[in-house]
């Protein structure tokens, strides 16, 4: 069993870093453009809520409650999440890819922080 991550601990992970099957809690949507953020919140993609990634390509498919949402990866990479807590599938299939994504995610975040300044 994977260790339960500390609730809402800040990470650099975004939805784009999650592999299909993983679940994580949303931390923030601040980086999403306002119109879109409002719509995501209305669908239930809100801080503190658990989302599951069903698929990554050709678009990211999320499940919140009983709603399935298709969002473009560009949007997915702007929604930060906690450490995912369902790693089983990831270990079988996408461990290396996940790491790569994780690193890419880190880079992305650093770039964004730099841009903000």
């Amino acid at each position: 069993m994977s260790q339960q991550p500390e609730a809402d601990a800040p990470t650099d992970l975004t939805i784009a870093d999650l592999a299909p099957g993983m679940e994580a809690k949303v931390i923030s949507l601040q980086a999403v453009q306002e119109v879109r953020r409002e719509r995501l919140l209305a669908y239930g993609v809100a801080p503190g809520r658990t989302i599951q990634v069903l698929q990554r390509s050709p678009a990211t498919i999320l499940k919140v409650d009983q709603t399935e949402l298709a969002i473009e990866n560009d949007v997915a990479s702007r929604i930060t999440v906690t450490e995912p807590n369902r790693m089983k599938r990831a270990f079988h299939h996408g461990q290396r890819r996940r790491k790569r994504r994780f690193r890419r995610g880190l880079k992305f975040l650093q770039r964004r922080k730099r841009n903000k300044r």
Binding site: E38, A42, Q55, P58, I61, Q66, A70, E72
Partner: protein, 655 residues
């Protein structure tokens, strides 16, 4: 596609509005409360206009079906239509239609509607799906907390509708109250002190204003003096600048907390891993490779059903056997004996006769094609496949500066470009809307034309169909690509809800098909008759020959078609499908070679949109846009057609 409107404006002293999220069953419930059918389909954004119907169980009351709202304060055009209802209508009751399996989302809106101070009832619809997914709601507890009647319904099976009607009589002004953070409460009382009375409570009007709802803004602009309006604007602006979160966000967060507490009390979710065939197929349909395979199968079935069965077998039966051998000879003989004057008789049964051309085209050619198309299309709409198609095609639309959501109006355009133009309301911004309209006008054939095109190409070969498809797609992509670069504004990325795949309900598909057929024939027959009459006059006056001669260099020289094809293109000015029908008959008489079939089909597909849609675009986007689109599309159609001819001849295709 075209709704079936009760054409009389209802004059009633009060009304009941059906309000709720997209795709939750509002239109189904509307049908049950009024007996009027409006289009029901399984994708968000089916209803984009208001429809009124007299309530069967309440005297002197209208029921209003509204477009679904995802967010209130409204953000998109169709949401604004609904927000407007709150201000303009003498609402006696609001029925919120909610999705039971997404309780959190539903209650979010319930709280907002409860604040409005209008009697409210909540129809918790889709109880069947909630049950399947192990979602159970403690209804009594929910009623107790909300102090609003909550009625579980399964609208498609008529379950709970009687209870809903009963409860409408008993609804009262809700007393539910949310306390917002101090900053917001202060702002509310400041704004409230400036507000005139409206249909909704001052508190909720103030909240909408703070959230920058465009409908609230325009209502206020009309109802308070401009100085006060300016003061309110300044106040709001100041509020936005102080503090991290905008007032809208703070309001939403507060409501979300309240909903969270409520949901924790009343919701039980068991058996998290619901996996039915529908879910499995739904996921398969959006996977990169398997999804495309499924799409290819769907398209092939469509092609077979409409192109080969409808436009081939059925048309042959009706056109050649029934009309050609039975009805038309009879009618012709009859008319010639009744009316001995040849020119008058010709007007009815001659080469360009109202019956032998106009009615025969409409009934023997178009009718079987559109019937099969609308039937297949209705099934597809109700299955929930269309939003998945949006996911699959997102990358393609990306090239054209759009997102996959654009597939919805485009596919609808196959039924009727006019209605599809209205459906562009579901696109996120003006730029996207205009882009879709351009593509609709250029490359989307309407169903009758598509059927004829498929039928004609099918009779040549599958490769002819593929060539046609590739050319149309390439033209569409290039024009879209160019237009996206010329138009200012940014592309908005895909964000779309995928409703569950559902088994289409045959009765709904049939009602929908019949309603659409009726509308289609009403629109098409007069135009076909008019077109025939014009052709008749032109022929008798010799104008037709002149025009055919004049267009000879273009049609025969450039496109390499027989001179007679000019007549078909002339008809195409009235309706593209009318023109296509003319070409269809030429092919049936063996006047067209394979290359000529492909070239003429490509040209007529890209030909200017029908008169009705030019009007529609003019009305919604301005006449200049409408004219500009027409002026670009027309030469482009001939340019592409001619180039294709040279290419096909050069590679020696079809010989």
């Amino acid at each position: 596609m075209h709704n079936h409107h009760p054409s009389v404006e209802l004059k009633t002293s009060s009304s009941i509005a059906l309000i709720g999220h997209p795709n939750v069953g509002k239109s189904v419930i509307f049908h049950q409360l009024t007996g009027h059918y409006v289009t029901v389909a399984n994708y968000p954004g089916t209803t984009v206009e208001l429809t009124r119907g007299a309530a069967t169980h309440f005297p002197d009351t209208a029921v209003i079906d509204t477009p679904g709202i995802l967010t209130l304060p409204s953000r998109t055009d169709e949401e604004q239509v609904t927000a407007q209802v709150l201000f303009d209508e003498p609402l006696r009751v609001i029925i919120q239609v909610g999705d039971a399996k997404n309780l959190r989302r539903t209650l979010q809106l319930t709280l907002q509607l409860a604040e409005m101070g209008i009697p409210l009832a909540l129809a918790l619809n889709m109880m069947d799906e909630a049950n399947h997914r192990g979602v159970s709601v403690d209804l009594n507890l929910l009623r107790e907390h909300l102090e609003v009647p909550v009625i579980p319904t399964i609208a498609t099976r008529g379950k709970g509708i009687a209870q809903l009607i009963e409860q409408i009589h008993k609804t009262q002004k809700p007393s539910f109250f949310i306390q917002y953070p101090d900053k917001i409460e202060h702002a509310i009382s400041y704004v409230e002190s400036h507000l005139p009375d409206s249909n909704i409570s001052k508190r909720s009007l103030a909240l909408l204003w703070l959230g920058r709802d465009p409908a609230a803004e325009s209502w206020l602009k009309k109802h308070i003096v401009s100085n006060t309006y300016q003061e309110l604007l300044n106040h709001r602006k100041l509020l936005h600048e102080t503090g991290e979160d905008s007032p809208g966000t703070l309001i939403r967060l507060t409501r979300m907390e309240v909903v969270d507490r409520l949901v924790n009390l009343v919701l039980r979710q068991t058996d998290l891993g619901f996996r039915g065939t529908g879910v499995w197929l739904g996921h398969l349909a959006i996977q990169p490779i398997r999804g495309v395979v499924i799409l290819a199968i769907v398209l092939y079935v469509l092609y077979w059903f409409v192109g080969i069965f409808g436009a081939g077998i059925l048309v042959n039966l009706l056109e050649t056997n029934l009309f050609g051998e039975l009805i038309n000879p009879l009618v012709t003989d009859g008319i010639y004996t009744i009316i001995p004057i040849p020119i008058v008789a010709d007007f009815f049964v001659g080469e360009y006769g109202l019956w032998t051309m106009g009615m025969t085209y409409a009934l023997a050619l178009i009718l079987p094609i559109v019937s099969t198309f609308f039937l297949a299309f209705g099934i597809m709409e109700d299955s929930g496949y269309l939003p998945r198609l949006a996911v699959l095609t997102n990358r393609v639309f990306r090239i054209m500066g759009l997102n996959g959501k654009a597939i919805l109006p485009m596919v609808l355009g196959l039924g009727c470009v006019t209605m599809a133009t209205l459906t562009t309301r579901i696109m996120e911004n003006k730029r996207d809307r205009l882009l879709v309209i351009i593509l609709l006008a250029l490359a989307i054939p309407c169903s009758a034309q598509l059927g004829i095109v498929m039928g004609m190409l099918a009779s040549v070969s599958l490769s002819a169909t593929m060539i046609w498809l590739v050319v149309i797609v390439v033209v569409m992509l290039s024009v879209g690509w160019l237009a996206a670069r010329v138009l200012p504004g940014e592309r908005s990325p895909l964000l779309l809800e995928l409703p569950p795949l559902r088994l289409p309900i045959m009765s709904n598909v049939l009602i929908k098909t019949l309603a659409r057929l009726e509308w289609y024939l009403k629109e098409v027959i007069p135009l076909f008759l008019l077109g025939t009459a014009i052709m008749f006059v032109m022929q008798k006056t010799g104008l037709l020959d002149l025009l055919i001669q004049a267009s000879e260099p273009l049609v025969s020289g450039w496109l390499g078609l027989p001179a007679d094809a000019s007549a078909a293109f002339l008809l195409g000015f009235l309706r593209r499908d009318f023109g296509a029908t003319g070409l269809f008959l030429m092919e049936a008489q063996g006047l067209l070679s394979p290359v000529q079939v492909v070239v003429s089909m490509v040209t007529i597909t890209l030909f200017i949109p029908c008169v009705a849609s030019v009007f529609m675009i003019g009305k919604s986007r301005g006449w200049r846009t409408s004219l500009a689109i027409t002026a670009i599309v027309f030469p482009l159609a001939f340019l592409v057609g001619g180039l294709l001819k040279y290419l096909l001849v050069a590679i020696g295709w079809g010989i």
